[in-house]
Protein backbone atom coordinates (compact mmCIF):
# COMPACT_ATOMS: atom_id res chain seq x y z
CA UNK A 1 0.00 0.00 0.00
CA UNK A 2 1.28 3.46 -0.92
CA UNK A 3 1.05 6.29 1.61
CA UNK A 4 0.04 9.54 -0.04
CA UNK A 5 1.17 12.84 1.46
CA UNK A 6 -0.51 15.91 -0.02
CA UNK A 7 0.89 19.36 0.68
CA UNK A 8 -1.38 22.27 -0.23
CA UNK A 9 0.51 25.48 -0.86
CA UNK A 10 3.80 26.04 -2.68
CA UNK A 11 5.13 28.95 -0.63
CA UNK A 12 8.11 28.68 1.69
CA UNK A 13 6.56 26.12 4.06
CA UNK A 14 5.10 23.82 1.39
CA UNK A 15 8.12 23.92 -0.90
CA UNK A 16 10.69 23.36 1.86
CA UNK A 17 8.58 20.48 3.19
CA UNK A 18 8.23 18.85 -0.24
CA UNK A 19 11.99 18.90 -0.76
CA UNK A 20 12.61 17.82 2.83
CA UNK A 21 10.39 14.77 2.29
CA UNK A 22 12.02 14.01 -1.07
CA UNK A 23 15.33 13.77 0.75
CA UNK A 24 14.11 12.12 3.94
CA UNK A 25 11.88 9.53 2.28
CA UNK A 26 14.05 8.83 -0.77
CA UNK A 27 14.07 5.01 -0.34
CA UNK A 28 10.29 4.86 0.13
CA UNK A 29 9.67 7.22 -2.81
CA UNK A 30 12.00 5.16 -5.04
CA UNK A 31 10.24 1.94 -4.03
CA UNK A 32 6.78 3.41 -4.65
CA UNK A 33 5.77 2.97 -1.00
CA UNK A 34 5.16 6.71 -0.63
CA UNK A 35 3.86 9.44 -2.94
CA UNK A 36 4.19 13.13 -2.17
CA UNK A 37 2.06 15.65 -4.06
CA UNK A 38 2.55 19.41 -3.83
CA UNK A 39 -0.50 21.43 -4.88
CA UNK A 40 -0.23 25.11 -5.78
CA UNK A 41 -2.55 27.44 -7.67
CA UNK A 42 0.36 29.15 -9.46
CA UNK A 43 3.16 27.45 -11.42
CA UNK A 44 5.61 29.84 -9.73
CA UNK A 45 6.99 29.95 -6.22
CA UNK A 46 7.05 33.51 -4.87
CA UNK A 47 9.61 34.77 -2.35
CA UNK A 48 7.85 37.73 -0.78
CA UNK A 49 10.74 39.42 1.12
CA UNK A 50 11.93 40.84 -2.21
CA UNK A 51 8.90 43.18 -2.22
CA UNK A 52 10.26 45.40 0.59
CA UNK A 53 13.00 46.60 -1.78
CA UNK A 54 10.80 47.11 -4.86
CA UNK A 55 9.35 50.52 -3.84
CA UNK A 56 12.88 51.89 -3.37
CA UNK A 57 13.82 50.78 -6.89
CA UNK A 58 16.31 48.23 -5.62
CA UNK A 59 14.69 44.96 -6.69
CA UNK A 60 12.19 43.75 -9.27
CA UNK A 61 9.21 41.49 -8.48
CA UNK A 62 10.64 38.97 -10.96
CA UNK A 63 13.62 38.53 -8.59
CA UNK A 64 11.20 36.79 -6.19
CA UNK A 65 9.68 34.35 -8.69
CA UNK A 66 10.90 30.96 -9.83
CA UNK A 67 9.07 28.09 -11.46
CA UNK A 68 8.08 25.48 -8.87
CA UNK A 69 9.02 22.63 -11.20
CA UNK A 70 12.61 23.94 -11.17
CA UNK A 71 12.69 24.19 -7.37
CA UNK A 72 10.96 20.99 -6.37
CA UNK A 73 12.65 17.60 -6.48
CA UNK A 74 11.60 15.37 -9.40
CA UNK A 75 10.39 12.74 -6.93
CA UNK A 76 7.52 15.08 -5.94
CA UNK A 77 4.30 15.15 -7.98
CA UNK A 78 3.36 18.73 -8.73
CA UNK A 79 -0.28 19.68 -9.27
CA UNK A 80 -1.10 23.20 -10.44
CA UNK A 81 -4.70 23.71 -9.39
CA UNK A 82 -6.72 25.16 -6.53
CA UNK A 83 -8.30 22.99 -3.86
CA UNK A 84 -12.06 23.57 -3.66
CA UNK A 85 -12.99 21.17 -0.87
CA UNK A 86 -11.42 19.02 1.81
CA UNK A 87 -13.26 16.08 3.36
CA UNK A 88 -11.26 15.29 6.48
CA UNK A 89 -13.43 12.22 7.24
CA UNK A 90 -12.93 10.39 3.96
CA UNK A 91 -9.53 12.13 3.53
CA UNK A 92 -10.24 13.42 0.07
CA UNK A 93 -9.53 16.68 -1.78
CA UNK A 94 -11.52 18.21 -4.64
CA UNK A 95 -10.15 20.77 -7.06
CA UNK A 96 -11.52 23.82 -8.84
CA UNK A 97 -9.90 22.89 -12.15
CA UNK A 98 -9.72 19.64 -14.05
CA UNK A 99 -7.64 17.70 -11.54
CA UNK A 100 -9.57 14.59 -10.43
CA UNK A 101 -10.27 14.29 -6.70
CA UNK A 102 -7.40 12.90 -4.66
CA UNK A 103 -7.30 10.72 -1.55
CA UNK A 104 -4.66 11.46 1.06
CA UNK A 105 -3.21 9.60 4.02
CA UNK A 106 -1.55 12.72 5.37
CA UNK A 107 -2.50 16.31 4.53
CA UNK A 108 -0.39 19.41 5.17
CA UNK A 109 -1.99 22.82 4.78
CA UNK A 110 0.45 25.60 3.94
CA UNK A 111 -1.93 27.94 2.17
CA UNK A 112 -0.52 31.13 3.69
CA UNK A 113 -1.95 34.62 3.98
CA UNK A 114 -4.16 36.59 1.63
CA UNK A 115 -4.71 40.35 1.68
CA UNK A 116 -8.15 41.72 2.53
CA UNK A 117 -7.91 45.50 1.92
CA UNK A 118 -11.66 45.72 1.30
CA UNK A 119 -12.26 45.34 5.04
CA UNK A 120 -11.31 49.04 5.31
CA UNK A 121 -13.43 51.39 3.17
CA UNK A 122 -11.25 53.44 0.83
CA UNK A 123 -8.01 51.58 1.56
CA UNK A 124 -7.71 49.88 -1.83
CA UNK A 125 -8.32 53.19 -3.65
CA UNK A 126 -6.41 55.53 -1.35
CA UNK A 127 -3.57 53.40 -0.03
CA UNK A 128 -0.52 51.54 -1.29
CA UNK A 129 1.23 48.45 0.00
CA UNK A 130 4.32 46.37 -0.57
CA UNK A 131 2.69 43.10 0.46
CA UNK A 132 1.91 42.06 -3.13
CA UNK A 133 3.72 42.32 -6.45
CA UNK A 134 1.18 44.75 -7.89
CA UNK A 135 1.14 46.78 -4.66
CA UNK A 136 4.93 47.02 -4.52
CA UNK A 137 5.24 48.21 -8.13
CA UNK A 138 2.40 50.74 -7.75
CA UNK A 139 4.03 52.05 -4.56
CA UNK A 140 7.38 52.27 -6.37
CA UNK A 141 5.79 54.48 -9.02
CA UNK A 142 4.63 56.87 -6.29
CA UNK A 143 7.63 56.72 -3.99
CA UNK A 144 10.30 57.33 -6.62
CA UNK A 145 8.71 60.69 -7.47
CA UNK A 146 7.74 61.60 -3.89
CA UNK A 147 9.86 64.55 -2.79
CA UNK A 148 7.76 66.33 -0.18
CA UNK A 149 4.70 65.87 2.02
CA UNK A 150 3.21 63.48 4.55
CA UNK A 151 4.16 59.82 4.26
CA UNK A 152 2.00 57.71 6.56
CA UNK A 153 2.63 54.01 7.16
CA UNK A 154 -0.32 52.44 8.92
CA UNK A 155 -0.25 48.90 10.25
CA UNK A 156 -3.89 47.97 9.87
CA UNK A 157 -4.14 44.22 9.96
CA UNK A 158 -2.59 41.99 12.60
CA UNK A 159 -1.45 39.30 12.33
CA UNK A 160 0.23 40.23 9.09
CA UNK A 161 3.11 38.78 7.12
CA UNK A 162 6.60 39.68 8.34
CA UNK A 163 5.92 41.72 11.49
CA UNK A 164 9.28 43.48 11.12
CA UNK A 165 8.59 44.84 7.63
CA UNK A 166 6.59 47.95 8.67
CA UNK A 167 9.44 49.06 10.95
CA UNK A 168 11.92 48.28 8.19
CA UNK A 169 9.97 50.35 5.67
CA UNK A 170 9.92 53.53 7.79
CA UNK A 171 13.57 53.11 8.81
CA UNK A 172 14.57 52.63 5.17
CA UNK A 173 12.39 55.53 3.98
CA UNK A 174 13.90 57.83 6.63
CA UNK A 175 17.43 56.94 5.54
CA UNK A 176 16.60 57.02 1.84
CA UNK A 177 15.10 60.53 1.97
CA UNK A 178 17.92 61.71 4.26
CA UNK A 179 20.62 60.48 1.87
CA UNK A 180 18.92 62.34 -0.96
CA UNK A 181 18.62 65.58 1.04
CA UNK A 182 14.81 65.41 1.07
CA UNK A 183 14.10 64.39 4.65
CA UNK A 184 13.28 67.91 5.83
CA UNK A 185 10.53 68.06 3.23
CA UNK A 186 9.04 64.66 4.06
CA UNK A 187 7.22 63.90 7.30
CA UNK A 188 7.02 60.22 8.20
CA UNK A 189 4.30 58.90 10.52
CA UNK A 190 3.98 55.30 11.69
CA UNK A 191 0.74 54.00 13.20
CA UNK A 192 0.21 50.79 15.15
CA UNK A 193 -3.00 49.18 16.50
CA UNK A 194 -1.92 48.69 20.12
CA UNK A 195 -0.20 50.86 22.74
CA UNK A 196 3.33 50.27 21.46
CA UNK A 197 5.08 50.27 18.07
CA UNK A 198 5.30 46.48 17.62
CA UNK A 199 3.38 43.45 18.85
CA UNK A 200 6.41 42.04 20.61
CA UNK A 201 7.20 44.25 23.64
CA UNK A 202 10.97 43.64 23.40
CA UNK A 203 11.12 44.71 19.76
CA UNK A 204 8.82 47.65 20.49
CA UNK A 205 11.08 48.82 23.33
CA UNK A 206 14.09 48.65 21.01
CA UNK A 207 12.42 50.38 18.05
CA UNK A 208 10.69 53.28 19.78
CA UNK A 209 13.85 55.28 20.70
CA UNK A 210 15.21 54.80 17.17
CA UNK A 211 11.99 56.28 15.81
CA UNK A 212 12.29 59.23 18.17
CA UNK A 213 15.94 59.83 17.24
CA UNK A 214 15.05 59.81 13.57
CA UNK A 215 11.99 62.02 13.85
CA UNK A 216 9.52 59.34 12.79
CA UNK A 217 6.17 60.37 14.27
CA UNK A 218 4.27 57.63 16.06
CA UNK A 219 0.53 57.12 16.57
CA UNK A 220 -0.27 54.13 18.78
CA UNK A 221 -3.74 52.72 19.48
CA UNK A 222 -4.53 53.59 15.87
CA UNK A 223 -6.87 51.06 14.25
CA UNK A 224 -7.74 52.36 10.81
CA UNK A 225 -11.45 52.59 10.27
CA UNK A 226 -11.65 54.28 6.88
CA UNK A 227 -9.57 56.01 4.24
CA UNK A 228 -10.88 58.98 2.27
CA UNK A 229 -8.94 58.89 -1.01
CA UNK A 230 -10.26 62.30 -2.12
CA UNK A 231 -9.51 64.19 1.09
CA UNK A 232 -6.34 62.09 1.63
CA UNK A 233 -7.15 61.30 5.24
CA UNK A 234 -7.15 58.12 7.29
CA UNK A 235 -9.29 57.88 10.42
CA UNK A 236 -9.08 55.42 13.27
CA UNK A 237 -11.64 53.60 15.42
CA UNK A 238 -10.17 55.65 18.27
CA UNK A 239 -11.20 58.91 16.59
CA UNK A 240 -7.82 60.14 15.30
CA UNK A 241 -7.60 61.57 11.78
CA UNK A 242 -4.32 61.84 9.87
CA UNK A 243 -3.64 63.69 6.62
CA UNK A 244 -1.45 61.97 4.09
CA UNK A 245 0.07 62.64 0.70
CA UNK A 246 1.22 59.03 0.39
CA UNK A 247 -0.39 56.26 2.45
CA UNK A 248 1.32 52.91 2.85
CA UNK A 249 -1.11 50.53 4.55
CA UNK A 250 -0.39 47.05 5.82
CA UNK A 251 -3.78 45.58 4.85
CA UNK A 252 -5.83 43.20 6.97
CA UNK A 253 -4.80 39.60 6.31
CA UNK A 254 -6.75 36.38 6.33
CA UNK A 255 -6.12 32.77 5.46
CA UNK A 256 -8.00 30.92 2.72
CA UNK A 257 -11.79 30.61 3.20
CA UNK A 258 -11.61 26.84 2.85
CA UNK A 259 -9.99 26.42 6.27
CA UNK A 260 -13.02 27.89 8.00
CA UNK A 261 -15.62 26.25 5.75
CA UNK A 262 -14.26 22.77 6.47
CA UNK A 263 -14.13 23.49 10.21
CA UNK A 264 -10.38 23.57 10.78
CA UNK A 265 -10.21 27.08 12.31
CA UNK A 266 -11.37 30.69 12.13
CA UNK A 267 -10.37 33.37 9.60
CA UNK A 268 -8.41 30.88 7.52
CA UNK A 269 -5.95 29.94 10.28
CA UNK A 270 -5.86 26.27 11.32
CA UNK A 271 -6.15 25.52 15.04
CA UNK A 272 -3.11 23.38 15.81
CA UNK A 273 -1.11 22.00 18.70
CA UNK A 274 1.62 24.65 18.70
CA UNK A 275 4.34 22.05 19.28
CA UNK A 276 3.30 19.16 17.02
CA UNK A 277 1.54 21.37 14.40
CA UNK A 278 -1.22 18.75 14.14
CA UNK A 279 -4.68 20.14 13.43
CA UNK A 280 -6.96 19.99 16.44
CA UNK A 281 -10.14 19.28 14.47
CA UNK A 282 -9.02 16.45 12.18
CA UNK A 283 -6.79 13.39 12.14
CA UNK A 284 -3.72 13.17 9.88
CA UNK A 285 -3.78 16.88 9.09
CA UNK A 286 -0.91 19.26 9.77
CA UNK A 287 -0.62 23.01 9.16
CA UNK A 288 2.48 25.12 8.96
CA UNK A 289 3.64 28.67 8.31
CA UNK A 290 1.08 31.48 8.39
CA UNK A 291 -1.70 28.89 8.15
CA UNK A 292 -0.90 27.34 11.55
CA UNK A 293 -2.37 29.40 14.37
CA UNK A 294 0.59 29.15 16.74
CA UNK A 295 0.87 32.81 17.80
CA UNK A 296 4.39 33.16 16.39
CA UNK A 297 5.08 35.66 13.62
CA UNK A 298 3.94 35.02 10.07
CA UNK A 299 7.47 34.78 8.75
CA UNK A 300 9.39 32.68 6.26
CA UNK A 301 11.83 31.50 8.93
CA UNK A 302 8.93 30.10 10.94
CA UNK A 303 7.56 28.23 7.92
CA UNK A 304 11.08 26.92 7.18
CA UNK A 305 11.65 25.56 10.71
CA UNK A 306 8.13 24.17 10.96
CA UNK A 307 8.58 22.37 7.64
CA UNK A 308 11.57 20.54 9.14
CA UNK A 309 9.46 19.47 12.12
CA UNK A 310 6.52 18.30 10.01
CA UNK A 311 8.93 16.49 7.67
CA UNK A 312 10.42 14.54 10.57
CA UNK A 313 7.01 13.76 12.04
CA UNK A 314 5.59 12.54 8.73
CA UNK A 315 8.62 10.35 8.06
CA UNK A 316 8.25 8.79 11.52
CA UNK A 317 4.54 8.16 11.03
CA UNK A 318 5.05 6.64 7.60
CA UNK A 319 7.75 4.32 9.01
CA UNK A 320 5.45 3.26 11.85
CA UNK A 321 7.51 4.98 14.56
CA UNK A 322 6.24 7.43 17.16
CA UNK A 323 6.82 11.01 15.92
CA UNK A 324 8.88 12.97 18.44
CA UNK A 325 9.98 16.14 16.62
CA UNK A 326 8.34 19.29 17.97
CA UNK A 327 8.40 22.98 17.09
CA UNK A 328 9.77 25.24 19.83
CA UNK A 329 8.61 28.57 18.39
CA UNK A 330 11.95 29.33 16.75
CA UNK A 331 11.80 32.55 14.75
CA UNK A 332 14.64 34.40 13.10
CA UNK A 333 14.44 37.82 11.45
CA UNK A 334 16.78 40.40 10.04
CA UNK A 335 15.41 43.92 10.53
CA UNK A 336 16.63 46.64 8.18
CA UNK A 337 17.24 49.86 10.12
CA UNK A 338 18.20 51.91 7.08
CA UNK A 339 19.50 51.44 3.55
CA UNK A 340 22.89 50.20 4.82
CA UNK A 341 22.30 48.77 8.30
CA UNK A 342 20.22 46.04 9.89
CA UNK A 343 19.54 44.33 13.19
CA UNK A 344 18.79 40.69 13.85
CA UNK A 345 16.53 38.82 16.26
CA UNK A 346 16.14 35.18 17.19
CA UNK A 347 13.54 33.94 19.66
CA UNK A 348 11.21 31.07 20.53
CA UNK A 349 8.26 30.25 22.79
CA UNK A 350 10.41 30.51 25.93
CA UNK A 351 13.09 33.06 25.06
CA UNK A 352 12.20 36.61 24.03
CA UNK A 353 14.05 38.52 21.29
CA UNK A 354 16.95 40.82 22.03
CA UNK A 355 17.66 42.89 18.90
CA UNK A 356 21.33 43.03 17.92
CA UNK A 357 22.99 46.45 17.51
CA UNK A 358 22.39 47.58 13.92
CA UNK A 359 25.38 47.15 11.62
CA UNK A 360 26.34 47.13 7.97
CA UNK A 361 27.43 43.49 8.34
CA UNK A 362 23.92 42.46 9.36
CA UNK A 363 22.48 44.39 6.42
CA UNK A 364 24.73 42.47 4.03
CA UNK A 365 23.90 39.26 5.87
CA UNK A 366 20.24 39.91 5.17
CA UNK A 367 20.85 40.57 1.49
CA UNK A 368 23.11 37.52 1.26
CA UNK A 369 20.46 35.34 2.86
CA UNK A 370 17.81 36.70 0.48
CA UNK A 371 20.00 35.54 -2.41
CA UNK A 372 20.70 32.15 -0.87
CA UNK A 373 17.00 31.67 -0.04
CA UNK A 374 16.69 29.58 -3.18
CA UNK A 375 18.87 26.97 -1.45
CA UNK A 376 16.40 27.01 1.46
CA UNK A 377 13.50 26.46 -0.94
CA UNK A 378 15.38 23.49 -2.40
CA UNK A 379 15.77 22.05 1.09
CA UNK A 380 19.55 22.53 1.11
CA UNK A 381 20.01 25.35 3.64
Amino acid sequence: MTDHVVIVGGGTGGTVLANNLANRLEPELDAGDVRVTLVNDDPDHVYKPVWLYVPFGQREPADGRRALDELVDDAIDLTIDRVSDIDTESQRLQFEGRTPSVDYDYLVLATGSTLEPDQIPGLAEGGHDYYSESGATALRDELLTFTEGELVLSVIGSPHMCPAAPLEFVFMADDWFRERGLREDVDITYTYPIQRVHGNPHIAEWARPIMEERDIQVETFFNADAVDPEAETITSMEGTELDFDLLVGIPPHGGVDLVESVGLGDDGWVDVDKHTLEAEAAEHVYALGDTADTGVPNAGSVAHYQAGVVGQRLASEIRGRPPTATYDGKTLCFIETGMDAASFVEFDYENPPSPAPPSEKLHWSKLAYNESYWLTARGLL
Partner: protein, 78 residues
Protein backbone atom coordinates in the same frame (compact mmCIF):
# COMPACT_ATOMS: atom_id res chain seq x y z
CA UNK B 1 -20.99 36.25 38.18
CA UNK B 2 -22.25 38.65 35.55
CA UNK B 3 -25.65 38.34 33.92
CA UNK B 4 -24.63 40.26 30.82
CA UNK B 5 -25.41 38.36 27.64
CA UNK B 6 -22.67 39.07 25.09
CA UNK B 7 -23.55 39.45 21.41
CA UNK B 8 -20.19 37.95 20.43
CA UNK B 9 -17.46 36.02 22.22
CA UNK B 10 -13.77 35.96 21.35
CA UNK B 11 -11.92 33.06 22.90
CA UNK B 12 -8.26 34.13 22.94
CA UNK B 13 -7.19 31.72 25.67
CA UNK B 14 -3.77 30.31 24.88
CA UNK B 15 -2.84 33.25 22.65
CA UNK B 16 0.19 35.26 23.65
CA UNK B 17 0.16 39.03 23.97
CA UNK B 18 -0.90 41.01 21.90
CA UNK B 19 -3.15 38.32 20.38
CA UNK B 20 -6.09 38.78 22.78
CA UNK B 21 -6.24 42.55 22.38
CA UNK B 22 -5.92 42.30 18.60
CA UNK B 23 -8.63 39.65 18.52
CA UNK B 24 -10.88 41.92 20.61
CA UNK B 25 -10.23 44.93 18.36
CA UNK B 26 -11.01 42.83 15.29
CA UNK B 27 -14.32 41.68 16.73
CA UNK B 28 -15.33 45.15 17.98
CA UNK B 29 -14.59 46.41 14.47
CA UNK B 30 -17.17 44.02 13.00
CA UNK B 31 -20.07 44.46 15.45
CA UNK B 32 -22.72 47.20 15.69
CA UNK B 33 -22.76 50.09 18.11
CA UNK B 34 -24.26 48.96 21.44
CA UNK B 35 -23.22 45.32 20.98
CA UNK B 36 -21.28 43.63 23.77
CA UNK B 37 -18.20 41.57 22.97
CA UNK B 38 -16.86 39.13 25.54
CA UNK B 39 -13.11 38.46 25.42
CA UNK B 40 -11.74 35.37 27.14
CA UNK B 41 -8.03 35.73 27.90
CA UNK B 42 -5.51 34.03 30.14
CA UNK B 43 -2.76 36.60 29.55
CA UNK B 44 -2.04 38.94 32.50
CA UNK B 45 -1.26 41.76 30.09
CA UNK B 46 -4.95 41.86 29.10
CA UNK B 47 -5.74 43.36 32.53
CA UNK B 48 -3.87 46.51 31.51
CA UNK B 49 -4.02 46.71 27.74
CA UNK B 50 -7.75 45.90 27.36
CA UNK B 51 -8.97 48.72 29.69
CA UNK B 52 -6.40 51.08 28.15
CA UNK B 53 -7.62 50.45 24.60
CA UNK B 54 -11.30 50.45 25.58
CA UNK B 55 -10.90 53.92 27.08
CA UNK B 56 -8.82 55.18 24.16
CA UNK B 57 -11.46 54.02 21.68
CA UNK B 58 -14.35 55.47 23.71
CA UNK B 59 -15.98 52.08 24.28
CA UNK B 60 -17.06 50.82 27.69
CA UNK B 61 -15.72 47.97 29.79
CA UNK B 62 -19.01 46.91 31.34
CA UNK B 63 -17.75 43.94 33.36
CA UNK B 64 -14.63 41.94 34.16
CA UNK B 65 -15.20 38.42 35.41
CA UNK B 66 -12.42 36.39 37.03
CA UNK B 67 -12.90 32.70 36.28
CA UNK B 68 -10.82 29.64 37.16
CA UNK B 69 -7.75 30.25 35.06
CA UNK B 70 -8.84 33.01 32.73
CA UNK B 71 -10.63 36.35 32.68
CA UNK B 72 -13.72 37.44 30.77
CA UNK B 73 -13.81 41.09 29.65
CA UNK B 74 -17.18 42.49 28.51
CA UNK B 75 -16.80 45.44 26.14
CA UNK B 76 -19.72 47.48 24.82
CA UNK B 77 -19.07 49.23 21.51
CA UNK B 78 -19.83 52.95 21.59
Amino acid sequence: MTTIEPDETVDARGAACPGPLMDLIGKVRSVDSGDVVRLLSDTDQSHTDVPEWVEEAGNELVAVEELDDYTAFYVEKA
